[in-house]
């Protein structure tokens, strides 16, 4: 079939679980929901050599979106946004300050992932104290402390703005019991697309939103097929039945790159592949052992064989491209068996064993687990691979009830957020239970510095602590890849994918 | 109907038996109606009647293989109908049964010796040598050799199998043997062998037979007394000669007349009798 007589088709290897922006945790869910909701501000973009447009997450380069302009108070705690006049939801309701207030408050109070991002790991007192409607075109965000990266957060799906009227019409939210309707429907769109049809785990059809205040979507209609079978994805990509194929495993991307059906867009992502370890309990609480483990992983081979080159290496609490990343500090660890054996001996644990929790449904996980197991057993660490279904994997991981877990992470795009989330002692969200002396003070200090450049020394100090502690094993940072049909000329990557700037 | 004479080994009085049938077993079909019979010690009672008239059911009741509805069965003066199961089982030492189909009534997985030995084991004969002796003796009595005893029932012809079944019944030296159509499944040429054996054994061991059969000729040949059953009732009961020569019930007459090759019967009589 030629690409002309069908809608712009995206084949996506994912299983969405929820499309309520306040509720979603996973990156793919976020991306999908992003298409239907406007945000106050937008990220700036760079164009790569291969022509792919990549969003930058630097807080210094935030662009206006629904908010035409904004002012920040001296102490960095009050943000006042001036909204675009006449913006409307797809159903014609006004897209005004009240809608903004309602949406942000909903995300904050729902008690799920949405709140997490906005509140930096549910700190006390909450980061966002209040959202105030000044007039229908003006809204003020009151923070409890300075946090320059709040704009970056608002530029992503957590800043989604939806129609309070329609949500209320479909059942109020109650605490802990979310509006079930929103889980598989979208409230009237404020974003570039409207959701026309949605068959979970099967397909969705997106229609251009004529009332969108920004640049109209490139394609009138976008069809998204949710296909998890790799052969299907590959076959359809080959036959030109999909314009964009997302989520293909690297070896398939590698293979397709060499065929003339398609081209490959790739961009540095914020998705590290790590082995998270419980820093407080079990054998993995032993820092020497953790360090030993980091030194007996065949990094090069993994990047070569598993990631097929679509990866970069680094070692640190957050990946490159997150503002605040320090290249000097984040030197990748290397395979050194001698060192590793010595470290195991120093750890004082006899016949160490660790449990490696995996979710075998995710691509390449089995392969990675196999490689890790082999590598670690060589230095005398016995590995029990513990397979879990996606749900119980997520539950166990998020509640911190695991030894170590192989994980494809989606990192936040804000360094301070990442550090807080990962290093705050006793936080529910510090699911690795990393608690190092002195970090609390450093984190507090970080919260008092309004400017990113001034934050850097503190970030570096925290990073060093993290490194010393060998808190996590970072295997690599995966590059985002998309296989595009030959005639797709517009493609933009950001951590919350929006399809509106994709097209032929 | 004659009442059972006193001094009979087995006395059946007013036996009633019904089976449940129909939806959820709600309907009950009465199979036996007030059956009253007696078997004299050392003699044979022939029980004849067409198929489904309740002959086998009577035998089952006597053996205690099914429960009765009402009535009494006395064996050697002992009431059987209210016995407990273990008592009933131990009583079977002196009552045994031979079934119609010699192929079906012998467990094909047992050798002849095991089959004949089983009643002894069941009734607590612990001494293997003693058991062996009695098995050998019984087998010899029914005309089977020691060598044949090691074979399985399948290796025998129908007549021989029926001998095995008889040996199994006899090994406990019972007083009463219930024979449920023991020759009906056999060919004429073999039938005589078994009938002869049964007659011999009765003379020799003073056995009492309740002999169920539907062949009138055989009944007459073997029985001292005959009872004719029809639709669950005893319609005729008396000594063999009485029943055959002075047939009182029309059904018995029709049975007698229907035997092919016998003298030609009158058609009218037939019409009247056939309402089955």
């Amino acid at each position: 079939a030629s690409g002309e007589d069908r809608p712009f088709t995206i084949n996506w290897s994912t299983q969405l679980t929820n499309i309520d922006p306040a509720f979603v945790c996973a990156g793919d869910d976020n991306s999908f929901a992003s298409n239907f909701y406007a945000r106050l501000v937008a990220l700036d973009t760079d164009t790569q050599e291969d022509g792919t447009v990549v969003a930058s997450t630097s807080p210094d380069r935030i662009q206006p979106d629904l908010a035409e302009s904004w002012t920040v108070s001296e102490d960095g705690t009050n943000y006042t946004f001036k909204l675009r006049e006449g913006a409307k939801f797809a159903n014609g309701n006004p897209l005004d300050a009240e809608a903004v207030r309602y949406s942000i408050m909903r995300n904050l109070t729902i008690g799920a992932c949405g709140a997490l991002a906005l509140q930096i790991g549910l700190t006390d007192p909450p980061l966002i104290k209040d959202v105030v409607v000044v007039d229908p075109a003006t809204v003020r965000l009151e923070l409890s402390r300075a946090y320059p990266s709040i704009l970056v957060t608002l530029a992503q799906s957590r800043g989604s703005i939806y129609d309070p009227v329609e949500i209320k019409a479909h059942g109020e939210d109650r605490k802990g019991v979310p509006n079930q309707w929103l889980a598989s429907h979208t409230a009237s769109s404020s974003g570039p697309y409207e959701l026309d049809t949605y068959v979970p785990n099967n397909h969705a059809i997106l229609k251009r939103n004529p009332n969108y205040h920004g640049k109209p979507a490139l394609e009138e209609t976008v069809r998204i097929n949710f296909i998890t079978s790799v052969p299907t994805l590959m076959l359809q990509a080959r036959r030109g039945q999909a314009d964009v194929t997302l989520g293909l495993p690297p070896y398939v991307v590698d293979q397709l790159r060499s065929e003339d059906c398609c081209k490959v867009a790739s961009a540095p992502s914020l998705s590290p592949v790590t082995v998270s370890m419980n820093n407080q309990e079990g054998n993995s609480a032993n820092a020497k052992l953790r360090e030993a483990l980091t030194h007996s992983v065949p990094y090069d081979q993994i990047i070569e064989e598993v990631a097929h080159g679509f990866a970069d290496s680094y070692y640190g609490p957050f990946p490159p491209d997150v503002p605040g990343f320090n290249k000097e500090l984040s030197v990748p660890r290397t395979m050194d068996k001698e060192l590793a054996r010595r470290l195991v001996a120093e750890s004082g644990i006899e016949n160490p064993t660790i449990d490696l929790m995996i979710n075998p449904a995710a691509p390449s996980v089995s392969t990675l687990a196999t490689i890790l197991k082999a590598g670690w057993e060589e230095i005398g660490v016995k590995v029990n691979i513990d397979s879990q279904t996606p749900t119980s994997f997520a539950t166990r991981f998020n509640t911190g009830k695991y030894g170590s877990a192989l994980l494809f992470e989606g990192a936040g795009s804000v360094a301070a957020y990442e550090l807080r989330k990962k290093m705050t002692c006793g936080s529910n969200f510090n699911n690795q239970h990393i608690c190092i002396d002195g970090t609390t003070e450093l984190l507090d200090e970080l919260g008092r510095i309004p400017d990113l450049k001034d934050q850097q020394p503190v970030i570096d100090a925290l990073t060093e602590k993290w490194l010393e502690n060998s808190s996590t094993i970072v295997l690599y940072r995966a590059r985002f890849t998309a296989v595009l049909a030959r005639d797709v000329n517009h493609f933009k990557y950001s951590s919350s994918l929006r399809f509106s700037e994709w097209g032929r | 109907m004659n009442n059972a004479e006193t001094g009979d080994l087995l006395v059946i009085e007013n036996l009633n038996k019904s089976y449940s049938s129909g939806v959820g077993g709600r309907k009950r079909v009465q199979i036996l109606h007030d059956v009253t019979l007696g078997v004299k010690r050392g003699q044979t009672l022939g029980l004849v009647g067409e198929s489904g008239s309740g002959k086998s059911t009577t035998a089952s009741c006597v053996m205690g293989l099914t429960d009765v509805d009402s009535g009494s069965i006395r064996f050697d003066g002992r009431e059987l109908t209210n016995l407990s199961r273990p008592e009933r089982r131990s009583l079977r030492k002196s009552m045994q049964m031979v079934f119609q189909d010699p192929n079906g009534s012998l467990d094909p997985r047992y050798t002849v010796r095991d089959l004949v030995e089983e009643p002894l084991i069941v009734h607590g004969c612990k001494d293997p040598a003693e058991r062996r002796r009695r098995v050998a003796q019984t087998l010899a009595r029914v005309g089977l050799t020691e060598k044949q005893a090691e074979r399985y029932p399948h290796a025998f012809s129908g007549g021989q199998r029926q001998r095995i079944a008889i040996a199994r019944a006899l090994v406990l030296n019972p007083e009463l043997v219930v024979l449920d159509e023991p020759v009906s499944a056999l060919d004429v040429s073999i039938q005589a062998q078994v009938l002869n054996l049964l007659a011999e054994l009765q003379d020799e061991l003073q056995l009492t037979y309740l002999f169920i059969v539907h062949d009138l000729a055989v009944a007459r040949l073997m029985s001292h007394r005959i009872a004719v059953m029809h639709h669950g009732r005893v319609v005729e009961y008396g000594s063999a000669a009485e029943v055959f020569e002075h047939t009182s019930h029309p059904y018995t007459r029709s049975l007698l007349d229907a035997v092919p090759g016998a003298s030609q019967p009158a058609g009218e009589e037939l019409q009247g009798a056939n309402h089955a």
């Binding site: - | 004429v188 040429s189 000729a217 055959f244 007698l256 229907a258 092919p260 090759g261 016998a262 037939l270």
Partner: protein, 346 residues
């Protein structure tokens, strides 16, 4: 019965001219894995129009196999191995399905032993009847039905017009057998073969069915081959008898001769075994010792020798197979001693 005085002339040839059905050296085998059951062994006889021939013998002697061989219906793995079956001079063995089907039902009617299983339980009596008629007669369904009703009333089914639409399970065993008989004679066959038609029936019903058969043969004048192991039936219904033992016909004789002067020791033994309800008194019965031979083995000598009062002691009987001998009485007997004084006359 014409008696041929030339003792050594083959019996088949002797009555060739007038016979309607002629069976010559018929052998029927069941091929089992590893062995062959030779159920019918070298059987020859012929049937004249109107003759009523009984085939008697104990169970497993090959009676049914013989009956089936006549119309080529031996169930697999059985097959007619050799020999011929000639109907009015036309060879039936080896005919194709289509050809022999024209004979079945039309020239040779067959009645089976088990009336309960003989009718398709899913089809009405009428439709099965119509099928049976229309294969041979070019009539409409209506006419066929009409004919069927006539036949049914002829065999004593009351209210045939209503009952013809009934299903077989609505008929009693005796009535089913009547229906089967009616179907078998629907196309006026010249030969009616009845394979133990009454064995499965009650004594009283048995008698009625026999009378029906007798009536039919009287009225239609067809030949009858009656297979039975009941000598009483033979006496009542048939004029001549073939006695089978272990797949062979050991005696061919007339009914009268059979009862008066049985020629073969087996026949005599069989007669002895009959228990007459009117005359016999309790006592020792003359039994035939032993049991019939295994038909998958080849017989050496006379198959009956083991059990024979005469032959068990004779080495001749154990070593040499007896040939059929024509006796003065007109009977043909397969016994070495058929003509000895003891054998020829009682």
């Amino acid at each position: 019965m014409s008696v041929n005085t030339e003792a050594q002339v083959h019996p088949v040839r002797a009555q060739q001219l007038e016979s309607i059905l002629e069976i010559g050296n018929l052998c029927t085998n069941f091929d089992l894995p590893g062995s062959t059951v030779r159920a019918v062994r070298d059987v020859s006889f012929q049937l004249r129009p109107g003759q009523r021939l009984a085939v008697v013998g104990e169970s497993g002697s090959g009676k049914s196999a013989l009956a089936m061989s006549l119309v080529g219906l031996v169930p697999p793995p059985g097959r007619v191995a050799s020999g011929s079956v000639k109907l009015r001079g036309r060879e039936l063995v080896g005919l194709g399905d289509r050809e022999i089907s024209k004979i079945r039902g039309n020239d040779i009617g067959l009645v089976f032993q088990d009336p309960m299983a003989g009718l398709d339980p899913l089809k009405t009596i009428g439709s099965q009847f119509v099928d049976a008629i229309r294969v041979h007669q070019d009539v409409s369904v209506r006419e066929a039905k009409e004919l069927a009703c006539q036949l049914l009333s002829e065999v004593g089914v009351e209210d045939p017009r209503r009952r013809i639409n009934d299903y077989p399970h609505q008929y009693s065993g005796g009535m089913r057998q009547r229906v089967l008989i009616a179907m078998a004679i629907a196309n006026d066959p010249v030969v009616l073969v009845a394979d133990e038609p009454t064995t499965a029936l009650d004594v009283t019903t048995q008698r009625q069915v026999l009378e029906l058969l007798e009536k039919i043969c009287d009225e239609r004048g067809n030949a009858l081959v009656m297979i039975t192991h009941n000598l009483g039936i033979v006496r009542q219904l048939c004029d001549s008898v073939n006695v089978m033992y272990a797949g062979r016909i050991v005696e061919q004789t007339s009914t009268d001769a059979l009862f008066a002067e049985p020629a073969h020791p087996y026949t005599r033994a069989l007669l002895n075994c009959m228990i007459d309800p009117r005359t016999t008194l309790r006592g020792r019965l003359p039994a035939i010792p032993g049991s019939p031979p295994d038909l998958s083995l080849d017989e050496v000598g006379c198959a009956f020798a083991e059990r024979c009062l005469l032959g068990s002691s004779q080495s001749l009987c154990h070593e040499q197979r007896p040939e059929p001998v024509l006796l003065a009485s007109g009977a043909i007997s397969r016994c070495h001693f058929a003509q000895t004084p003891e054998g020829a006359t009682p």
